[in-house]
């Protein structure tokens, strides 16, 4: 039982980690980023490349990959997405446009990865050492990823709730039009939130690459998982992200242990659909529109 709970918590932490970037990009910047998973895998590849080619520890690699993720995202937003934001008359129109644009981006990122690394599976071993926590054996790399997910989540949460700029970000998430009325530069804040999401997805990519096997084509799995967590938790809500991620992770490991491993994903989706039926705006989402 304890083991199932620990495993579930760590898996849930990973789901939350994967989803935090998307909740910023989708919730604040209103970009429904279909290429999200591709960026995650790109960060995994970067980490793999640094680790095997330059013998650089992935945890140190974070210091390189995360700022790059931030920079690339801000350029993307400024160059590719700002024109869409400008021309979109309504939020719905922007959602459709961003869906289309990021769909194209998905192919581009995947294409670049395929040319550089080919289609094969990649995996490396880093800190896959057993550690004992409360009498249960866990993998150190997963534990570190979980710990960092909590740290990043908390830091972001504090930054959003305790700082002036964070409040501006939340204001844009709730109502961009009203935010403009109180002298918030919505475009800059959106760009920053999108880039922050890009930095988070880069961090997630590096951390999961320590224990998951990935290939240039596996991005879509992460996009979908992230999307589920984000919507279930309430779009734009970090706390919701964490709770939804943990709920999915726990249900998965409990079902695998006590019911049938074959039903884990079905239960995940059922849980997700159930939450949406009861609370259409997600666990922590406010009803909109």
């Amino acid at each position: 039982m304890t083991n199932a709970i620990f495993t579930g918590l760590m898996l849930g932490g990973m789901y939350a980690l994967i989803a935090m970037g998307l909740t910023l990009q989708y919730g604040v910047a209103r970009i429904m980023n279909l290429s999200y998973g591709e960026f995650l895998v790109a960060a995994s590849f970067a980490s793999y490349w640094l680790f095997t080619g330059w013998a650089l520890n992935p945890l140190l690699g974070l210091a390189i990959v995360v700022p790059i993720g931030f920079g690339v995202s801000i350029i993307l937003y400024r160059v590719l997405l700002t024109p869409l934001v400008r021309r979109a008359p309504t939020r719905d129109a922007l959602e459709v446009d961003s869906l289309l644009a990021t769909f194209g981006m998905m192919f581009i990122v995947q294409g670049i990865m395929l040319t550089m690394f080919g289609g094969a599976y990649f995996s490396y071993s880093f800190l896959s050492i057993p550690v004992t926590v409360f009498g249960e054996t866990l993998a150190l790399n997963r534990l570190i990823a979980f710990g960092l997910a909590v740290v990043f989540g908390l830091a972001l949460y504090l930054a959003l709730t305790r700082t002036r700029f964070g409040t501006a970000i939340r204001a844009v998430a709730v109502d961009p039009t009203a935010a403009r009325l109180v002298a918030i530069d919505v475009t800059s804040v959106s760009a920053f939130a999108f880039a922050l999401g890009g930095a988070m997805v880069a961090a997630a990519g590096v951390l999961v690459s320590m224990f998951l096997t990935f290939s240039a084509s596996s991005g879509v799995i992460f996009t979908m998982k992230a999307l589920m967590v984000v919507v279930m938790g309430g779009v734009g809500n970090l706390l919701g992200c964490l709770v939804a991620g943990l709920a999915l992770g726990l249900s998965e490991s409990l079902v695998a242990t006590f019911v049938d491993p074959g039903l884990t994903l079905a239960v995940n989706f059922a849980l997700f659909l159930g939450v949406l039926l009861v609370k259409p705006a997600g666990l922590f989402g406010r009803a909109q529109r």
């Binding site: 990973m14 080619g53 330059w54 294409g111 096997t213 074959g262 994903l265």
Partner: protein
């Protein structure tokens, strides 16, 4: 030294990426059209999508290497002259619909002389009727299906070289029976399988075979494709303390299960995993910890032909990639068979080539091959990592079979 090599390859990779972007920008990546009087060979492989991982390890490198080798020797020998191979290739995007369309295109538009099959069971079945209708030989070297004998009858142009899932499971159980007879293992088995064609077929065949041999199946679960944390199953299995752990798994799960087993300190006497165990990636990830791990596939690692094949494959691949130790060699052997059949017929006569494939004997990297009812008579079904090489250990009657190392040594810290 190794580190330096890696560094070089890292730099070339970066350069390749930049070059790709530049190349696309100028849209200049058009392949030159060879002069006529060539043998046109077409294939559609999964360059993208979920099948891309398997195709990139097992199929594409062998197709490219074979074409390069044949053309370096002047081409295929038709009668008394050598004719170079011209390749037409497409991406099937891992979709049955795209694969079918691409093959129709190869046949009617490009009018290729021969077609090399796609990767994987599903796609090989999807293109089966098309190749049969158009009368092209179909050398399926990456499909495991229990209907292989029936399919070979239905489509006499098709050759199912990788065998049936019943073959895989029965050989494994035979080996277990033998080891139990020698007193090396007890009779508790824990089995997990991926909820996809491969895992279902193999576990469905293994269950009755294990029961018949009086093994106790203490744990028997399936898990969905794409499960990201397999530790609940490993922990459950460990708690039951089985002698044998069998996983009919896909590559990402094979790596995940091995990693979890190592972390949990789960040391059954036999640790067997599915697709991916024979991948070079498995060795590079687990290093010395591969010792004693069994898996599906294997090859006669001591044979000169295989050693030579391994060396050539490493030399031919972009970054010295090794072949996998199961379907890669069979794929390459299928190409050798096709080549020998074409050269024996001496002209582009697909009907005669099919006839020759059905009746002839072929000299390949996996030894002499003679098909019976379009199926080979020998397969490697159980392999084991021994001293950094994945040797075939079952069936024990195969030429070059090594004795299995049992019990598997305990996992070491990395």
């Amino acid at each position: 030294m190794l580190w330096e090599e890696n560094m070089v390859s890292s730099v070339t990779r970066l350069a390749a990426g930049l070059a790709a972007i530049a190349g696309v920008a100028s849209l200049s990546a058009v392949e030159p059209v060879l002069a006529q009087s060539s043998v046109k060979i077409g294939y559609a492989l999964s360059r993208t999508g979920p099948n891309a991982g398997g195709a990139a390890v097992t199929t594409l490198p062998n197709y490219e290497m074979w074409v390069k080798e044949v053309n370096a020797a002047g081409g295929l020998k038709l009668g008394d002259k050598r004719v170079p191979i011209e390749v037409v290739q497409y991406d099937d995007r891992s979709s049955a619909e795209e694969a079918a369309k691409a093959l129709d295109r190869l046949i009617t538009q490009d009018k290729v002389d021969f077609i090399l099959p796609p990767w994987g069971t599903g796609l090989n079945l999807a293109v089966g009727p098309i190749l049969n209708k158009a009368g092209y030989p179909h050398l399926a070297s990456t499909a495991v299906t229990d209907r292989a004998p029936e399919l070979a009858k239905r489509w006499p142009n098709s050759f199912w070289l990788l065998g049936t899932s019943a073959g895989a499971s029965n050989t494994l159980v035979e080996l277990l029976v033998k080891l139990r007879g020698e007193g090396k293992i007890g009779d508790t088995v824990a089995m997990v399988s991926v909820a996809d064609g491969f895992g279902i077929d193999l576990s469905a065949a293994a269950r009755p075979a294990l029961a018949k041999a009086n093994f106790k199946l203490a744990y028997d679960k399936t898990y969905p494709v794409g499960t990201q944390d397999l530790s609940p199953m490993v922990n459950e299995a460990k708690a039951l303390n089985p002698d044998v752990f069998i996983a009919f798994s896909y590559p990402p799960d094979t790596l995940g299960l091995t990693e979890q087993a190592r972390i949990a300190g789960f040391n059954p006497k036999i640790f067997y995993t599915g697709v991916g165990t024979a991948f070079p990636l498995y060795k590079s990830k687990f290093g010395a910890n591969t010792e004693g791990v069994m898996g599906i596939g294997g090859w006669s690692g001591d044979s000169a032909a295989i050693k030579d094949y391994l060396a050539r494959h490493k030399a031919a691949s972009a970054n010295g990639a090794e072949p996998d130790r199961w379907a890669s060699a069979v794929t390459y052997a299928s190409l050798q068979m096709l080549q020998q059949a074409i050269e024996r017929v001496g002209k582009i006569d697909r009907e005669a080539v099919i006839k020759d494939l059905q009746t002839g004997t072929f000299d390949t990297v996996i030894g002499k091959v003679k098909l019976e009812n379009n199926l080979p008579t020998k397969h490697w079904w159980v392999g084991q990592w021994q001293g950094g090489e994945f040797y075939g250990v079952g069936p024990a009657s195969n030429e070059g079979a090594r004795a299995p190392v049992v019990p598997k040594p305990a996992w070491k810290a990395p």
